[in-house]
């Protein structure tokens, strides 16, 4: 994986990498509209209903670690499904405390069984 992705990163430089990471064809087509633009311009437009929240979850898992927090927070904003947010909270070991709080707000109090499993150690976070 390349250098850190920032708002100034050209979308062209990540398109081939995203394809190499097995992004779904619909997502690649959507991203191609931003060829020649910056990643900042792209994430400013992911409120587009055609940009599915599952793509944001995928992006966080595949390129989140090497992305600037201004990028990752935009992807986190897109997540609305509580279990999707909870799963990311478990999986992403690199989240900042601020990013943790953003994800927590999306599931806290909405998943009593899953939250109890976390409290009891039945499921565990990768972040230590």
């Amino acid at each position: 994986m390349a250098d850190t992705f920032t708002r100034a990163t050209k979308v062209n430089t990540i398109l081939s990498q995203i394809q190499g990471l097995s992004a779904c064809p619909e997502a690649v087509i959507w991203h191609q509209k931003y060829a020649g633009k910056t990643l900042g311009e792209l994430v400013d437009n992911i409120s587009d209903p055609k940009f599915d929240q599952s793509w944001a979850a995928w992006a966080l898992q595949r390129i989140g670690r090497v992305s600037d927090t201004t990028i990752t927070k935009k992807y986190i904003d897109k997540i609305t499904d509580p279990m999707m947010a909870f799963s990311l909270y478990l999986e992403l070991s690199w989240l900042s405390d601020e990013e943790d709080k953003l994800l927590e707000a999306k599931f806290k109090g909405k998943l009593p069984t899953a939250e109890a499993e976390l409290a009891q150690g039945i499921v565990k976070r990768k972040k230590v």
């Binding site: 990471l21 097995s22 779904c24 599915d52 599952s54 793509w55 979850a57 995928w58 898992q61 595949r62 499904d81 509580p82 279990m83 999707m84 909870f86 799963s87 478990l90 999986e91 909405k110 998943l111 009593p112 069984t113 899953a114 499993e117 976390l118 039945i122 499921v123």
Partner: protein, 185 residues
């Protein structure tokens, strides 16, 4: 406290959830026979609702005036790949729609058939249910799966779902208590 027998759904259907993947063969969730309702879940995505209703509870199962103490739901499921499929959402439903807590577990489904039980003899799911809600043919479950894999689409497979209800019968009121009111008319 008394408990009903385990009841299985009379009606199984795939219902749209945000235009996601539908369930194939939803009727296979009616019986435990290793035939499965299947939802092919894309990576990092959830699927449509598997809606199960018409569990066949009757007044003979839950007498009039009973208080509902708890609900248990047993789901026999498996995943098409390891460390990929988990619940996305699991709700009880009645005539008005989904009710109470989202009981989704964050534990991955195994790759061989296993029964998982949700709720307990004292767990009311925050659903404020009364006996007539449960006797209704609209009472049931909505379930949606989630695929956490970033690599592959994976199947969520449901063999059978069943429900039982814990209840306490209402206090017996002797008939003579009513006689004065009847005579007054």
């Amino acid at each position: 406290m008394a408990v009903t027998g385990w009841k299985t759904p009379g009606t199984c259907e795939s219902v749209d959830r945000d235009g996601k993947e539908a369930w194939a063969n939803p009727d296979y969730a009616k019986t435990s026979d290793n035939n499965n309702a299947v939802c092919g879940l894309p990576k990092t995505d959830y699927g449509d609702w598997l809606r199960l209703t018409n569990f066949g509870f009757a007044v003979g199962d839950i007498p009039s005036g009973s208080t509902i103490d708890g609900i248990e739901v047993k789901i026999e499921h498996r995943a098409g790949g390891a460390n990929s499929i988990k619940d996305s959402a699991l709700y009880l439903r009645k005539t008005s729609g989904q009710i109470g807590d989202n009981k989704a577990s964050a534990t991955y489904w195994g790759t061989s058939d296993a029964e998982v039980t949700y709720g307990s003899s004292t767990d009311k799911w925050n659903a404020s249910l009364v006996g007539t809600d449960i006797i209704s043919t609209d009472f049931g479950i909505d379930l949606s799966g989630y695929n956490a894999s970033t690599e592959d689409a994976v199947d969520a497979l449901i063999d059978c779902i069943s429900i039982r209800v814990y209840y306490t019968e209402g206090a017996f009121i002797p008939c003579q208590n009513y006689y004065p009111k009847i005579l007054a008319h």
